[in-house]
């Protein structure tokens, strides 16, 4: 019971403070990984990939997935379903409350200079938070962090990962034909590369 309350509380917090769409949820999920130990950084990267490659808003998908995995480790499949429902409801509850309040005085909200100026500060902060979370994913995937403990050497570098990362960056930013493709295509291609090259 405590686990589900905690799950609701953690996602309520994410729903309340994650501003600017799906990716903004990620820093809160990292914080959750640190604070609760429910999942590892690697689990989380898998959850992000699944959230990006399935229908539905990314933030909602990730909440459902985290809730499912967390509930499953506590109480099997019924626990997993309950966890998925509770995490998702936790995420959307603050939105519902806030939007219902705003809808009551829609016009004055948009023209309010305090709202506008708060977002002047919030946008760069939200971007900074995503950078920090992104760095954690990158470090744990591009370096073998357990080898790092034994001292600095070239063995620390996940060189296959670096090569794939550079190729993906070029394909998503520089090559005209591929840069507009949906992320799911790159995710699937990376899965195939991962299997072929034992990553």
């Amino acid at each position: 019971m405590m686990l589900y309350l905690r799950l609701f509380y953690e996602f309520f917090k994410a729903g309340l403070f994650a501003i600017g769409g799906g990716m903004a949820t990620i820093p809160f999920l990292y914080d959750m990984a640190d604070a609760t130990g429910w999942f590892t950084y690697n689990d989380l990267a898998n959850m992000i990939a699944v959230g990006e490659s399935t229908p539905g808003p990314v933030g909602v998908n990730m909440a459902t997935y985290v809730g499912y995995v967390t509930g499953q480790s506590a109480a099997g499949i019924p626990g997993a379903i309950l966890g998925a429902v509770i995490a998702t409801l936790g995420l959307v509850t603050p939105s519902i409350i806030i939007i219902l309040i705003i809808a009551a005085f829609l016009k004055s909200f948009r023209d309010n200079r305090y709202v506008d100026s708060a977002f002047y500060g919030l946008r760069p902060a939200s971007t900074g938070l995503i950078v920090a979370a992104g760095l954690s994913v990158a470090v744990s995937n591009l370096f073998f962090t357990d080898t790092l403990a034994q001292g600095l050497s070239l063995a620390v570098l996940n060189w296959k990962g670096w090569i794939l990362a550079v190729i993906l960056w070029v394909l998503t930013n520089k090559v005209k034909k591929t840069k507009g493709l949906h992320p799911i295509i790159f995710i699937l291609a990376s899965a195939v590369v991962g299997v072929v090259f034992s990553m």
């Binding site: 403070f17 992000i48 995995v69 519902i96 939007i99 977002f119 900074g128 938070l129 899965a191």
Partner: protein, 179 residues
């Protein structure tokens, strides 16, 4: 058809057809809400979307709540929101079950090894886009750098950074702190 049921089903359809969220959703909402259902005018939708972006939470959810409450008050807002998340719940639960059943296989682990690298690049690309909109002058650059470094090296809750940066934004814009 019962209006509440209609709200639930329409937003469930939007949930299924949304892939990736954010801006990708706008054309789908346009087709369903403006053209098919005539539930909102084009300008209204843009308003909902703008507010959805500058309020906490997922944009798709915020828009659903808005439209639902317009027609059926608080209950409508809640029903439309449940509609938009319903497909995610079903699809992700099924998929998570499949993944956890096969996750011990070597090749599945290799596949996710490749996928995680891709996730790094996707986050990197998303950050570049957000950065261009968010960092517009020296003050926003300082906020961005401090939050990025602070969040990476200190173990404090992101909530702290969100609240502080909102206060900084209001202070700078309204009480004449010099740029």
């Amino acid at each position: 058809m019962n209006m509440l049921l209609d709200l639930f089903l329409t937003f469930a359809k939007v949930g299924v057809m949304t892939f990736g969220g954010g801006y990708a959703m706008l054309p789908i909402l346009q087709r369903e809400l403006v053209e098919n259902k005539h539930w909102a005018a084009e300008e209204e939708l843009v308003d909902y979307f703008a507010i959805g972006q500058c309020t906490p939470g997922v944009i798709a959810v915020n828009t659903a709540t808005f439209v639902g409450q317009k027609f059926k008050g608080i209950v409508g807002g809640i029903v439309a929101t449940l509609g938009v998340v319903f497909p995610s719940l079903v699809i992700i639960s099924l998929l998570a079950g499949v993944i956890s059943a096969f996750s011990h296989l070597q090749w599945v682990q290799h596949a996710f090894g490749g996928i995680r690298i891709c996730v790094c690049i996707l986050i990197c690309n998303a950050v570049v886009k957000l950065y261009k909109k968010a960092v517009v002058d020296k003050i926003t650059l300082v906020v961005f750098l401090l939050v990025a470094l602070g969040a990476y090296f200190l173990s404090v809750s992101p909530v702290l950074f969100v609240v502080l940066s909102a206060v900084i934004g209001i202070a700078v814009k309204n009480w004449g702190v010099r740029k």
